[in-house]
Symmetry: C2
Subunit: 202 residues, 2 copies
């Protein structure tokens, strides 16, 4: 008995929806496709969820939550601020699949629906804030140049990842993603202070 089969109906529906939204987007995902992948009947689906958008909302919340945890594992890890940002940028990714959250950003029905947009908004807002915190902490420790703007730089880092996916998918090749990441890491490395600097040590 597979893991999938032992899960509850509701859980299987949410997971199917997560997968399909990632692969096909919101417009491209039909209730029929969801229930077929989940292996449940139509009546079953409409019993647990009011319809497509309710299913999508549950799926997006789940995906955003998972992505946040994954990012936190890198950004909350050990090392300097540069190390932690580098860990986030270079963590293993299935580049050509793109970002399951960033992708939804291109879906009209999602962006125009405040409820559906909220998980995306919160996720990216948290991400930029978290990266900015890491960078600001690096500055306080004297690791990074004081002139660096943590908030703007955090947006840049997050944008490089999302834009890297776009470039890679256009090329059908992960190379542009990797190049973009290496490019921003090199620029960031130039902001790393060479000496232990002015940090207070006991």
């Amino acid at each position: 008995m597979s893991t999938e089969e032992r899960l509850g109906t509701q859980e299987r529906l949410v997971r199917s929806t997560q997968e399909l939204l990632w692969e096909r987007g919101y417009v491209g995902t039909s209730p029929k496709a969801i229930l077929e992948r989940a292996g449940v009947g139509q009546g079953s689906m409409y019993h647990h969820f009011s319809g497509k958008s309710a299913l999508a909302l549950a799926a997006l919340r789940r995906t955003a939550q998972t992505m946040q945890q994954t990012a936190e594992e890198c950004l909350g890890g050990p090392g300097t601020a540069y190390d932690r940002v580098a860990a986030y940028l270079t963590r293993e990714r299935t580049v050509l699949r793109g970002c399951p959250i960033g992708r939804m950003t291109q879906d009209r029905d999602v962006v125009q629906n405040p409820e559906l947009r909220t998980p995306l908004d919160q996720m990216f807002d948290w991400l930029r804030g978290r990266i900015a915190d890491v960078l600001a902490e690096g500055q306080r420790r004297g690791e990074l140049a004081a002139a660096l703007d943590p908030v703007a730089t955090a947006a840049t880092v997050a944008a490089v990842v999302q834009g890297g996916y776009v470039l890679a998918r256009a090329a059908d090749d992960p190379a542009p993603f990797d190049a973009a990441v290496q490019g921003v890491l090199a620029l960031l490395a130039a902001q790393v202070t060479s000496v232990g600097a002015t940090g207070d040590r006991d």
Copy 2:
């Protein structure tokens, strides 16, 4: 008589398709919507184009061409390499609408169709190459640090724009786009050599 009305049927169809692809993506755009916006009948449309994908191909080629021209106006302009990249990054944009080419990257049917993907691929390939050329030229002139990797940095610049759109649409606010651009410009500014440097002058 409006400009639209005096155009030929074929031309009106292509323009309608360009608009709709930008707004709704490929899956979200129906032949019916195209012909209604163009103000032509169904028979007319299938006379000039074999179907939806042929129409999309014509539209994407046109859009990519226009975008390339727009980018060239900035990147081929006057000033230092930094100035020209900055001109590209900060040129006026309707940020919340996103990039009409980058958007298609999230459309399964487009990316999986080699013919439809080609215009996207060529456009971004050209863009990264053009930015890399500008940066390399800046290095030869002694404007930019020799250690900078023009190819990787070019990918970063292109990614920041595409990713900036994603962040802005998630937030329903252009601010993250602007922040990402300012962030990468500040990082790039740190690569500008302070002196006229080693350039040969007559």
